[in-house]
């Protein structure tokens, strides 16, 4: 069967009709759930701000459960599926495999998301995103997640199928592009993740229905985190692919070394999933040997992967900019970067915040012993808002500014809003992360309605600084929510009312000569990247200092054996 496609005037990519529709559907649902989940998030931050204390306790725990599911899972995974279809069908110029199955996957995911949301909103499933046994949710809560997971699994196989078709029909030559390679890594990790989820959630469903009498809590946590943490590693692989994608499309950047960047992605496939250990470092019944090996991803080999991308992504941007003539001093390439283009600014802010806030804090709290002073404090959400919101969500927002003209073929409305949005959102999320981490070091617990504990029999007073931090967190959440609101207005508004783009009005995003800016590497055209090396140096010094400062903090607590 022959399928219809168009050639995008801007990029020269072949876009098939069925792919385009699938990407649109998945991206639109993703953005809707981002809006819903984001509102829940704002209400949580305002509740934990002592002076506001917005929600009553039962609504707080309900909103917290819904927030985790809707943004951490539904928004991110729907968007990732759109990215997978883009990275296979669009980038390889190939028709999508079994579009009907892809639509079935979409339907299952949507039904699953709705079923779980209804279960949560009914009020008898406030078990948090983690749904630790023996907290029991309504059976429909687990049914929804399982349906969603099955849909995602099908979508991953549609992606793999598309890769096979592209290879067979020879729509590209040589190896797949780096972005597709990264997306493949994300999809492989997704299959592992979803298998872990099925292994633990199917018995839990049966338990909630009364067919199984007992589920061991330690087993639950061990297997569940194979799903819960690994799903975040899908995000890492996906948003790093997007960093490469945006720098290629906006600046015409080319990887400094295909070999090094692909090697770094490969380390993810092999080692990232060991990170489920990060959640089990202070649990009984697990040996320190197991903890040390797994928490370090087998001697930090996945961290090595991320540290490599931390050099190669800004490095390829610097190289591309220098080839364009921004060659003065260390940082002209960075100063003269397209900071007014929200795709670029969003991508670069995502890169910086993910590395400095999310990456460093993640490694430090994953040290077996340091976890003792961090486990289940609000430091933990502080860390993962830096990775998943500042890193993944902001990268996804940035790439959306490219998808709107490319896939929806609409011009952005309110360009001024679009321009400011990544900065506002980035600032808000950076505040959320930093202040939650700060409150965490003062012992403030996560998932807690009221740290002033006015009604407790044996109250405990947190230091005033803790309340100050939680207030600042609330204010940052307002900024982030404003940034999120602007994103949704711009994107939804553009899709509905933006000026239609046809072949005659298309404006090239990158000047054509950019496609070959960085010449073949190894020759004299290959520019040095002193600015990136300086940035990486600053990063590394911060990393080392923060790492040892936390050992010092640990050394000050009561001796434990």
């Amino acid at each position: 069967m022959l399928e219809q496609y168009r050639i995008c005037q801007t990029t020269g990519l072949r876009v098939f009709q069925s792919t385009e529709n699938l990407i649109k559907a998945n991206a639109v649902v993703a953005v809707i759930f981002l809006a819903i989940g984001g509102l829940f998030g704002l209400s949580i931050a305002l509740t934990r701000w002592k002076a506001v204390h917005l929600l009553p306790a039962d609504w707080f725990y309900l909103a917290l459960t819904a927030h985790g599911l809707d943004v951490l899972v539904v928004w991110i995974v729907f968007f990732e599926i759109a990215v997978l279809y883009f990275a296979s069908s669009v980038i390889l110029g190939c028709r999508i495999a079994t579009p009907r199955w892809a639509w079935a996957a979409f339907a299952l995911m949507l039904i699953g998301a709705l079923v779980t949301n209804v279960a949560v909103l009914m009020g008898n499933s406030s078990v948090m995103f983690t749904s630790y046994v023996p907290l029991k949710a309504d059976p429909s809560f687990y049914v929804g997640i399982i349906l969603f997971a099955v849909g995602t699994l099908i979508a991953c196989f549609v992606f793999f199928g598309t890769l096979v078709i592209a290879k067979q029909e020879k729509t590209y030559e040589g190896s797949v592009p780096l972005v597709t390679f990264g997306a493949t890594v994300a999809a492989i990790i997704a299959v592992f993740t979803l298998a872990s989820g099925a292994i633990i959630l199917i018995p839990t469903l049966l338990w909630s229905m009364g067919y199984i009498s007992h589920i061991d809590t330690l087993m639950y946590r061990t297997v569940w985190w194979g799903f819960g943490h690994s799903s975040q590693q899908i995000n890492v692989a996906a948003h790093i692919s997007i960093w490469y994608l945006i720098s290629a499309v906006v600046l015409g950047a080319k990887p400094l070394s295909e070999k090094v960047s692909r090697f770094a992605f490969l380390l993810y496939v092999l080692f990232l999933q060991l990170a489920s250990a990060h959640h089990l470092l202070v649990d009984p019944g697990i040996s320190s040997t197991w903890k040390v090996f797994n928490t370090s991803y087998a001697i930090y080999l996945a961290v090595l992967g991320s540290m490599i991308h931390g050099l190669t992504v800004p490095g390829q941007i610097e190289a591309a900019q220098r080839k364009k003539g921004y060659n003065n001093g260390m940082f002209e390439w960075l100063r003269k970067a397209p900071w007014g283009n929200p795709a670029f600014s969003g991508m670069f802010i995502s890169l910086i915040l993910f590395g400095f806030l999310g990456g460093i804090s993640g490694v430090v709290m994953g040290v077996e012993q340091i976890n003792l002073i961090i486990h289940n404090t609000i430091y933990v959400p502080g860390h993962f808002h830096a990775t998943v919101v500042a890193g993944t969500t902001l990268a996804f927002m940035a790439v959306t500014y490219l998808l709107v003209p490319l896939i929806f073929r609409r011009a952005l409305i309110l360009p001024g809003w679009a321009k400011a949005q990544p900065y506002l959102f980035g600032l808000g999320v950076a505040g959320i992360s930093v202040f939650m981490m700060g409150a965490g070091t003062l012992g403030v617990p996560r998932r807690h309605w009221d740290i002033s504990q006015a009604d407790a029999i044996l109250p405990y007073d947190f230091p005033g600084a803790a309340n100050l931090m939680m207030g600042l967190n609330g204010m940052s959440a307002i900024l982030a929510a404003l940034g999120g609101f602007m994103f949704i207005v711009v994107v939804v508004g553009s899709i509905l009312f933006g000026k239609k783009i046809d072949a005659s009005t298309e404006v090239p995003i990158a000047p054509p000569e950019d496609a070959r800016v960085v010449g073949e590497y190894g020759n004299e055209d290959h520019p040095a990247i002193p600015g990136t090396i300086a940035l990486v140096g600053v990063f590394f010094v911060s990393f080392i200092l923060y790492y040892f400062v936390n050992w010092k903090y640990l050394a000050e607590v009561w001796p434990l054996r």
Binding site: S175, V367, H375, W449, I451, L458, Y460, G522
Partner: protein, 181 residues
């Protein structure tokens, strides 16, 4: 570009730029240092979790705790027994919906074998302001030897969500300078 196949078909034979190679080596060595830091701390550091834990039923743990309370109770506070066991003793702390029971009174600079378990759901032992955080499971008894090195009144917060009364689940621990003070 990253959105097109590698320019060099045989990309895996390309030389790696020096700046990248050096960074990969530095990052790898840093990983080794961080890995062995954890091992080193197990040998020389003072804050490590023991690997000692047992399976136990809620009834058995409850009975052990009550025996300790009966033997070493010194007074009562807000309906909670305050227990002052002799140094070096095995001490027990129950986590249940929604309390930490009983109140332990320890002596500064002495070591105790603290046994932690939950009688119902999962809870999070969070000793404040010291900031020691440990996961507490039902059916598992975790044993850690603690040596309080500061005196005063300490709060025990639950930091694992355990239902609607989670934020009310608070306990207390006292550390006194010498016996009775």
């Amino acid at each position: 570009m990253s959105v097109s196949p590698p320019q060099q078909k045989i990309w895996w034979n390309e030389p790696v730029p020096k700046s990248e190679l050096i960074w990969v080596i530095i990052a790898f060595i840093w990983g080794l240092i961080m890995f062995f830091a954890m091992v080193w701390w197990h040998i020389y550091g003072e804050q490590n979790l023991s690997n000692e834990s047992y399976r136990i039923t809620a009834e058995d743990f409850s009975a052990k705790t009550e025996a300790m309370v009966e033997k070493y109770k010194v007074r009562e506070e807000s309906g909670y027994p305050v227990v002052h066991p002799p140094p070096g003793e095995d001490i027990y702390l129950i986590a249940r919906l929604w309390q930490w029971w009983p109140i332990l009174e320890l002596e500064k600079g002495q070591s105790y074998r603290l046994h932690l378990s939950s009688l119902d759901w999962m809870h999070g032992f969070s000793l404040q302001p010291v900031n020691i955080n440990v996961q507490v499971h039902p059916d598992y008894e975790m044993v850690l030897t603690i040596t309080p090195d500061s005196a005063g009144e300490f709060g025990i917060i639950c930091n694992e969500y355990c239902g609607i009364g989670h934020h009310l689940m608070l306990g207390r621990m006292y550390v006194v300078d010498e016996r009775g003070n």
